[in-house]
Point group: C2
Chain length 383, copies 2
């Protein structure tokens, strides 16, 4: 096992979670060849830092890549990577499965995470699947309703009073002392799991651009590492241009990128409809910044109005996603209009999580009422 | 196109939805061979009654078959077919996609359905995807919250005051007059779409038993037809034993089966936690009865208590399903104990829809509160 810090370059032989410099460590790059196999774990067997415990898979990954008509009006070829088709209905399952495979083999009996949303549900579910206890640390204002989708799997949910931002780092220290393996947003195994998204995309098309809703930075780093490893393995020729998309109301990475800074700063008073990507101080923010600069990639912000409009457009194609998942499509329009994305380009947007998870915030359509006797007239007079 | 009534044997050359005798028509049996292909539509190309419009697929089907530990304690090999990984998070998408493929090719500009749950969301989503108007007829007591997950896709939702049971038949008549293609629970194309579940199972294992939550009877008939066609094509040797599972509080098919009757009777005052399978007068009830008798299959009822317990067991394996989806697992225990299912048998249970759809009815676990400063003690003192 060899981990490296993408910020300062220090290396580690043991499975640390963060570098002494504060950076998020990651596994050295893997190279290999693809095999014939039923699932992404088997087909890209050379590329994982731990042997996936296949007898405990829930079928995460191998999600559909869907052709979108939204691209037609914008003059690009648009594909949607539908991660809402995962076992707990978000991309998190890919990383969770791989991290649990490690935790089990390393002999841990308990795992944890800091999240109130997709990741909390995913860790709670896979911990039960793997026979591990789960400590899910949530913020004090998380609603009971939202937490039901987490505790239902059996994980122990703990509402923590205090600075939620500090909790990420506190949990790692506590975990070490207590023998609880914390699988937070940019845990090194988690990042590796997300590479499967890149592998599966590359099996189907050669994208020019990939739009990635970005919060902690874990998903972005995983997809980047996936494509980089494919190129180093000689399996693709060119890297696609990756575009980090953030909500205007919480965009610490885009702001630092635009201002030419090397370090992100805490985004004060974050406010956006896209709760799943509203991390004001993303732990992988600086690592994402570095990637953006190194590969000449881009960071784009979108307004809540644009996000809600994009969410509706996606629903109009049959895909109901969380607001955060619609940010890629919200960004696409302005990227095409500004010429950043060229005509006829092949673009993939990642749909990160199911709209059912934020149903109470969704806007439904109008509902009409009709008596059975007058139904014919009612249908005739409809839209 | 040749349709046949499984009740009286009458045949039709035109795409009727029901037989003059009142029975639900179905396509004649298809035979063929499997091909290499990315999705179930391509691999079983010979078996569909209409060419699937692949450029409009949302990636329905090809759902994971998950090994379950629940089988271990019961002494059987249990596999879960996770249909919650479909685009609108239920098995309905398979049938909806095929029916929409037909509606589009037949020149319809509007489609409809009678449902307040999974099917309503599925038809609303795919209608938008296919560029068709949707008329979703729902019962007058459907909650606004539940309907949001339907109207969000753009379908027109109409709350109908009056006898909801009559609406199934009324909608078909109305649809013919108004040129709206109604894709109700046992529409012949819908049934064909469900065959994909059998095909995919047969690609992975040779099951001895398949447990099927049964309401209208459409899913049961589709899975049955799938396995029968595989056998007639020489692709499998023996049919598995199919077991229809109903909730005790609404079990018109099991009751008629037990009493040796040829026709189901309306189940008065249905009441069960498994709302998705609470059809008191299933339109395919008699057709299911006939299949059960012809192949010596079984019908089993489970109590609400057993259903809720099974739902918890499944969540404990990382799969959060609707109560209706847990009925198969609820039935398994008693089927093994009574000797109906023999030791070491290979059993598949169909998980029909996501637990997020009935989240407000789900029982979450307890939530603890801790101050950040006391978190270590809090985690130590936990379970």
């Amino acid at each position: 096992m060899k981990l490296v810090c993408p910020i300062c370059g220090r290396t580690y032989e043991e499975p640390v979670q963060r570098c002494e410099c504060g950076g998020p460590v990651e596994f050295e790059r893997f190279t290999g060849e693809p095999y014939i196999g039923k699932n992404v774990w088997e087909r890209f067997w050379d590329f994982w830092p731990v042997e996936p415990v296949l007898e405990l898979t829930l079928g995460e990954g191998d999600t559909p890549l869907v052709r979108s008509k939204i691209g037609v009006e914008l003059g690009v070829k648009l594909y949607l990577k539908n991660e809402t088709a995962n076992p707990t209905w978000s991309f998190k399952d890919r990383g969770t499965f791989l991290a649990m495979s490690y935790a089990l083999k390393a002999g841990y009996r308990a795992v944890g995470t800091v999240s109130t949303g997709n990741m909390a549900a995913s860790v709670s579910a896979y911990a039960s699947r793997f026979g591990l206890d789960a400590k899910i640390l949530v913020s004090e204002n998380a609603s009971d309703e939202k937490l039901k989708a987490v505790s239902v799997y059996g994980g122990e949910v703990i509402r923590v009073r205090g600075d939620y931002g500090r909790l990420y780092f506190e949990s790692l220290k506590l975990g070490e002392r207590l023998g609880v393996y914390f699988v937070n947003s940019d845990n090194p195994f988690r990042i590796e799991g997300y590479k499967g998204i890149s592998f599966e995309i590359a099996e189907e098309i050669t994208p020019d651009y990939v739009l990635i809703p970005t919060s902690s930075g874990g998903l972005f780093r995983g997809i980047a590492k996936g494509f980089i490893e494919l190129r180093e393995s000689g399996l693709i020729e060119d890297l696609p241009t990756l575009i980090a998309v953030q909500a205007e109301g919480c965009s610490p990475i885009c702001r630092a990128f635009k201002e030419g800074r090397e370090n992100i700063e805490r985004f004060e008073r974050p406010e956006t409809v896209a709760k799943a990507i509203a991390n004001p101080y993303p732990p992988s923010g600086n690592a994402v910044l570095k990637l953006l600069r190194e590969f000449d990639w881009a960071c784009v912000t979108v307004s809540d109005g644009e996000i809600v409009e994009a969410q509706k457009k996606l629903a109009g194609e049959g895909l109901f996603v969380q607001p955060a998942s619609a940010t890629g499509i919200a960004a696409l329009k302005k990227l095409v209009e500004s010429g950043t994305i060229s005509e006829n380009a092949k673009v993939v947007s990642i749909l990160t999580g199911s709209g059912l998870k934020t149903l109470s915030h969704a806007e439904g359509g109008g509902i009409r009422e009709c008596p059975l006797e007058g139904l014919e007239d009612c249908i005739r007079s409809g839209s």
